[in-house]
């Protein structure tokens, strides 16, 4: 057999790279240690800042009392930096034993063998959680993640502004959403927008578009796993967003953005918005009187059906953990009532456990109450292993439609082509 010079060079290059990475990534094989003991590493994006750290340390103190032989080393991060931490730890051959990750992350990591299957069944879990809450942690009928908290997106509106305008209640379909939006939009003499009738820009654009798409009867994927987000229903949802900005001018592109200083709804610069449940915390900080005087209301996004976006945080165990028993013990602990309630409280989020619906925290937080009451209409993103590659392209596609650079159909068709390429690449 004759080998060409090119093939030898290629073989040598692959061998060199493989050697480099074998050296760098050569984590040892997972242990079969069944004893819940030893030191384990936890990566968390949900206990941010000094307050978050205090909450987790208190919980870990209780964990230590329960499991004196397990020591937990914590690496605190934010969702913005979670990818970097996960990538570098896995590439470095030293993955975290317990990783808290978002909805949509389970299929990519489970597909590639990075997650350990948990000792839970879907049937058992649905006793404790709503089925919609359990699904994001399951991949190919195996449970890889247990939910700690939910990040939900739905409609928020200012009851006082609606009452002033004589509008009896929030919109129940897209046509009403546009009509009320137009009616409540205020511009000054120079045409400057002083109050957006509908604020669709304070929330992440993808997470605004998706509940609209679901409410319009659309789906992310066809039953055989092909992209469906250029369906007529999805195009209709993006058309609605485009109409709000370009036709109705109920909000100007650039009026606000996610994470901007000051939430327009709290400042009276927006009459309603597609927002996150923890926007209620922001309102409480910026304009506490709105909460006290019950001026904030909530509504499900509705057209063909009611819909709510359901993200969240799930606890997972690395497939390469040297202490799987200890790691699973920590996952159980972090997802139990006490620890998950503390985590939800510090972030203003929605508890995943059904039993927490009656907790003092949920009773005091109307957004959490609203979300928990509507979980049957909750939809989650993700679902395919290539999701993490696909999701980043949504923003540019949606923006191109909102800016009039492309029609909603063109923007979503191009997005689907990119998604197909990402899925094909594997």
């Amino acid at each position: 057999m004759t080998r060409t010079r090119g093939s030898r060079t290629r073989a040598m290059a692959v061998a060199l790279v493989a050697t480099l990475f074998a050296t760098a990534c050569g984590g040892s094989a997972p242990s079969n240690d069944d004893e819940a003991s030893g030191t384990i590493r936890l990566l968390t994006p949900i206990f941010e800042g000094a307050d978050g750290k205090t909450v987790l340390e208190k919980q870990l103190g209780d964990f230590k009392e329960k499991y004196p032989d397990i020591t937990v080393e914590v690496d605190y991060t934010s969702y913005g930096k979670l990818n970097e931490k996960l990538t570098t730890s896995i590439a470095g051959g030293r993955p975290y034993d317990v990783m808290l990750m978002g909805v949509g992350w389970i299929p990519p990591f489970a597909e590639k063998g990075a997650l350990a299957e948990l000792d839970e069944s879907k049937q058992e879990l649905t006793q404790r959680y709503n089925e919609r809450v359990v699904e994001p942690g399951i991949y190919q009928d195996k449970v890889y993640g247990l939910p700690i908290m939910l990040d939900t997106r739905f409609g928020l509106y200012r009851k006082d502004i609606f009452a002033e305008a004589g509008i009896p209640g929030p919109p129940s379909n897209f046509a009403e959403l546009r009509e009320i939006g137009r009616k409540l939009t205020v511009r000054d003499g120079s045409g400057k927008l002083t109050r957006a009738g509908v604020d669709i820009l304070s929330n992440d654009l993808r997470q605004t578009f998706l509940p609209l798409m679901w409410a319009n009867g659309g789906e992310l994927w066809t039953p055989d796993g092909k992209p469906a987000f250029n369906s007529p229903e999805a195009v209709g949802a993006l058309q609605l967003m485009t109409d709000i900005i370009r036709t109705d001018k109920s909000e100007d592109f650039g009026f606000t953005q996610p994470g901007a200083t000051g939430l327009p709804l709290a400042q009276g610069r927006a009459a309603m918005m597609v927002g996150h449940n923890n926007h209620l915390l922001a309102i409480e900080e910026q304009a506490p009187e709105l909460i006290k005087e019950d001026k904030i209301g909530f509504f499900m996004i509705n057209n063909e059906r009611p819909a709510m976006f359901q993200g969240g945080t799930l606890a997972t165990v690395s497939a390469k953990s040297q202490r799987p028993a200890a790691a699973k013990a920590l996952v159980s602990f972090l997802t139990d009532e006490q620890a998950s309630l503390a985590a939800n409280e510090q972030r203003g989020n929605v508890p995943a456990l059904n039993s927490l619906a009656d907790s003092e925290y949920v009773e005091s937080n109307k957004a959490a109450q609203f979300a928990m009451a509507n979980l049957d209409a909750a939809y989650s993103e993700g679902g395919v292993p290539a999701w993490l590659e696909i999701r980043g392209d949504f923003k540019a596609a949606i923006e191109s439609a909102l800016l009039g650079q492309k029609t909603p159909q063109q923007a979503l068709d191009e997005l689907v082509v990119k998604a197909q390429a990402a899925i094909a690449k594997g």
């Binding site: 590639k112 606000t256 590659e389 540019a396």
Partner: protein, 316 residues
């Protein structure tokens, strides 16, 4: 016989005198000590720069799945893929635009400030420190302050514009204004170092040149263009090349001021796109291919810089 003696004497004359054994030993010891002292730096360079650079080049030609830990040969596929990607091509264009506006504009401003701060004025040290301060302040801190100033409703810029009856834009969330806003911050941040280099160069210009020009009756402007600017040429080349390389590697202020590449990807630059590809999409191989392209840009700039500064040095 004579010839033999001659050849021996020629040979011994051409050979260097053999150092005494003690000196040889000392030389070897000194070499060993030198290698020992250099070792940490060399190990650091190999570990943190050498291996990552080799790995980056290697991975650019593979399909490396970071989560699964698999590597497959991909040839030029990653390069084809990135150049077929609109956002990557847009990021190259944005980087060029960013560089075009930050480097020459900041250099002109820096020269003017350096000339002003080279005069005998009161509180000179204070002014110099003030102009240099942005360079030594953490970029993230600077960007956060500027974010507040750019805030469309409560920010300083729009409040000032409101006073003169102008509706200020949404600086960081308007696709037409986001890049100019980032460029403004970058110019402001980059002036300090450039000014310092120019200031040092200005102080090396022989004063007698100005005295001769004074005798000839040259005006201040004439002296600036006929003496100061030509004498600043070596410093200008240096500042230009270093600034170009810095501009191509801009990341911090863009990332903090306009997360996610800015509105409609209006501030997506090459470094941000590399970061997004690697850590947003987990496509390490494509990110490595993008890094190789960025490296090629920087290499070309550096070679041009070397040529220009080298030529300038020869003339001197």
């Amino acid at each position: 016989m004579t010839s033999t003696l001659e050849s021996v004497s020629v040979a011994s004359a051409s050979r260097a005198p053999r150092p005494p054994r003690r000196r040889r030993k000392l030389g070897a010891e000194r070499r060993r000590a030198a290698y020992l002292m250099l070792a940490p730096s060399v190990i650091h360079l190999i570990w943190w720069i050498g291996i990552p650079v080799v790995a980056t080049f290697g991975l650019a030609f593979t399909n490396y799945d970071v989560i699964a830990g698999t590597v497959e040969w991909a040839g030029l596929d990653n390069f084809r893929e990135i150049f077929a990607d609109d956002i990557w091509n847009l990021s190259i264009w944005h980087t060029v635009v960013f560089t075009f506006f930050t480097v020459p504009v900041a250099m002109v401003i820096a020269v003017i400030i350096a000339v002003l701060l080279n005069q005998r004025i009161k509180a000179l040290a204070w002014y110099r420190a003030a102009f240099f301060m942005p360079h030594i302040t953490a970029t993230v801190a600077i960007a956060l302050v500027w974010m507040w100033m750019f805030e469309p409703n409560l920010g300083l810029f729009n409040l000032l514009l409101d006073w003169v009856g102008v509706n200020g834009p949404a600086w960081l969330s308007d696709p037409d204004w986001a890049m100019p806003a980032v460029i403004l911050v970058s110019i402001w941040k980059g002036i300090g170092l450039k000014m310092l280099i120019y200031l040092a160069a200005l102080q090396n210009i022989p004063h007698d040149l100005y005295e001769a020009a004074d005798i000839d009756g040259a005006s201040g402007v004439r002296k600036f263009f006929a003496i100061t600017l030509p004498m600043l040429r070596p410093a200008t080349f240096f500042v230009f090349i270093v600034s170009m390389i810095d501009a191509f590697q801009v990341f911090d202020q863009v990332y903090v001021l306009t997360p996610d590449g800015g509105p409609a990807n209006s501030t997506t630059v090459m470094t941000y796109e590399i970061y997004r590809t690697a850590f947003g999409e987990f496509d390490i191989s494509a990110a490595c291919a993008q890094s190789v392209v960025l490296f090629a840009f920087l290499l070309v700039l550096t070679v041009i810089g070397r040529r220009l500064t080298g030529k300038d040095g020869d003339e001197a």
